[in-house]
């Protein structure tokens, strides 16, 4: 049978970002796929060598606006290791607070986009309506809806007072109620969602391990991996059980996100309740020296940041391995054999973030 080549992207109605896949089709079935990259490359890694290590925080935050806080967290943890500084306990808890807020808004965002890709408009709107609660909290505590910009080398730059904590708690309770009532049940039990995602884009456990998948993509295939268990920031004081599903299809990955979302909201409330008092920022007086690897669990999986300093105000090397980069091989394993109409949904099920991947 004759093969047809179809360009999928870079401008595609389903994705806000320039995802570009070259698909090879036989009839309606995908037989080959080649990713094409570079549409969002800016060269942030190089630019990070040209700015001072304190200025870099603002640049690193803008690798990706969706998990911006976690990028800066990975960076700040790395620089703290190089300068022998330890963030004070309250700052570590505040870091978890904004990390989990980012995770919940990111998961709501991607679940909404998934619903939109299926044409399930009302669910898309519901997800984004719930997400506004998280963004309001972010604006109230950090001063900005998307780019929190609160992480800094040596701690965090903003504190939360008790009135604010009470208000946040009340809003999170409203969010939890909304999730339980109108979002989670739909994703977990709805017929349309089930039919569009179940059995689509399967990655078995062995293959996920072999291809180095991370985050919800790996956990949806039954791989128990969650970098939060390494206990960075204040995660050592919280109980983190990785959410694992075993089917390995798009449905399993969606279910992982839905369950993680509820857990994230709980975690934010736990953190607020157990936050110790004290200072939030310590002074950093020396320059970064040596090399280090810093890892954090982002909404899409594990991020690895390698930093090398040479006792000057500038870092010698900043290398970022983002989660989507690790998940693309798994995506290429999922697509062959599926139908053309399922490509957007399977691609969205790994929650691609091209802004991160290409930097």
């Amino acid at each position: 049978m004759a093969r047809t080549a179809i360009p999928f992207g870079p401008q595609h109605p389903v994705f806000p970002e320039p995802v570009h896949l070259k698909l090879e089709l036989e009839d309606e079935t995908v037989v080959g796929v080649t990713p094409v990259i570079g549409y969002m490359h800016r060269g942030i890694e190089k630019a990070a060598e040209l700015k001072t290590f304190r200025q870099n925080v603002f640049l690193i935050e803008r690798i990706c606006g969706i998990c911006s806080f976690m990028h800066s967290l990975a960076y700040c943890q790395g620089v703290e290791a190089l300068t022998d500084v330890e963030a004070p306990p309250r700052a570590r808890f505040l870091r978890v607070f904004w990390s989990e807020l980012s995770r919940s808004h990111s998961h709501l965002l991607t679940l909404g986009l998934l619903a939109d890709a299926m044409g399930f408009e009302s669910l898309f709107m519901q997800c984004w309506r719930a997400r506004e609660i998280v963004l309001d909290i972010s604006e109230m505590t950090a001063g900005h809806r998307i780019i929190q910009s609160t992480c800094s080398v040596g701690g965090v730059r903003r504190d939360i007072n008790s009135e604010m904590a009470k208000e946040v708690d009340a809003r999170l309770r409203a969010l939890q109620e909304m999730l339980d009532r109108s979002i989670s049940p739909v994703f977990l039990h709805d017929y349309t969602i089930n039919r569009r995602t179940e059995g689509k884009g399967i990655v078995p456990k062995e293959q996920a391990e072999l291809l180095g998948a991370v985050g919800p993509t790996a956990r949806g295939s039954g791989v128990t991996v969650d970098i939060r268990q390494t206990g960075y920031a204040a995660y050592s004081d919280l109980s983190i059980d990785p959410v694992v599903e075993t089917a390995g299809d798009s449905y399993a990955r969606t279910k992982v996100r839905v369950r993680e979302l509820s857990r994230s909201v709980e975690l934010v409330r736990e953190v607020l309740a157990m936050m110790p008092a004290g200072e939030i920022l310590v002074a950093v007086s020396n320059y970064p020296e040596g090399e280090t690897v810093s890892r954090v669990e982002q909404p899409r999986g594990e991020e690895i940041m390698y930093l090398k300093g040479n006792s000057t105000n500038y870092l010698e090397r900043v290398r970022v391995r983002t989660p989507t980069f690790a998940n693309i091989p798994a995506l290429l394993g999922m697509l062959p054999g599926c139908e053309l109409a399922d490509v957007p949904i399977i691609t969205l099920s790994i929650d691609p973030c091209i802004g991160c991947t290409e930097r």
Partner: protein, 142 residues
């Protein structure tokens, strides 16, 4: 107001393309379409097809790879068309100023009508910018 101008300004269709943005402004554009801000009440609908669009919303700085795609999309849009740049990094390069692969603002590639400041631009600012752009459409005549 004649019927053409009226239908253009009362129901403009948007096309969104993300150049080298950090996604911050992209998700704010989407947020402007969802229940809290709901630009659909102004008749504004997000479209995926350049051939149907009146207003092109661009985020992020142009780079050596995507400027051709951007120009291509712009050329496919029928006249009269407007370009609205969302966020500082698309307006001037912003935080990505010294990044080696960027060309600078979107106006190095295609003509821009409205610049929306902010990093990330707030949905209110985005709505305001689009409404400002519509004034230009009205002035365009038939």
């Amino acid at each position: 107001m004649d019927i053409l101008t009226r239908s253009r300004t009362k129901s403009p269709w948007l096309l969104h393309y993300s150049c080298g943005s950090c996604n911050g402004c992209d998700i704010e554009i989407l947020a402007a379409l969802t229940p809290l801000y709901d630009v659909e009440r102004f008749g504004i609908v997000n479209m995926g097809n350049p051939k149907h669009a009146d207003v092109l919303l661009v985020t992020g700085p142009a780079n050596w790879r995507n400027y051709r795609v951007l120009r291509n999309i712009y050329d496919q849009m029928p006249e009269p068309k407007l370009v609205v740049v969302v966020g500082v990094c698309g307006s001037t390069g912003g935080v990505f100023d010294k990044c080696p692969n960027t060309l600078g603002g979107i106006d190095t590639v295609i003509p821009v009508d409205v610049y929306i400041p902010g990093c990330a631009a707030r949905p209110e600012a985005i709505i305001d910018g689009v409404v400002l752009a519509l004034g230009k459409l009205e002035a365009y005549g038939t």
